[in-house]
Symmetry: C2
Subunit: 76 residues, 2 copies
């Protein structure tokens, strides 16, 4: 089974990477870009039947830093 | 409008970051992880009515390196 995990910085946490992208889009002439946030997406190939609780554990232990990042996952 | 852009390394392009995650999950005792690919997700706040062609241009010019990365975007 294939699982896609999205990891984003929590609201309120400074995102310099996103800020750099916003600035660069402006410099390239794109207007109306009022905000950019950059995160990670991790695609996992897991054994069929891996329970959600195991995936949550993977996220909490390794994939996301839950102090500053939020995550969500979906089976694809 | 809010647009979410997903940027992933193309199939066949070595993904050392994903490989490191796969290795770390194994070291943490998670079994059955047969593959990991890591990519980026970029959330853009754009002016309402921004056409898809403009978003495609942003992706091609800045957000993705189309030689080694593929992208897709969705309005959320």
């Amino acid at each position: 089974m294939k699982v896609r995990v999205h990891v984003m910085l929590k609201a309120g946490v400074l995102d310099p990477q996103g800020e750099a992208v916003r600035h660069a889009l402006g410099a390239l002439g794109f207007e109306g870009v009022s905000g950019v946030r950059q995160g990670k997406v991790i695609e996992l190939d897991l054994a069929d039947g891996t329970p959600d609780s195991t995936i949550t554990e993977m996220c909490e232990k390794l994939l996301a830093n839950t102090v500053i990042e939020s995550y969500r996952f979906e089976t694809v």
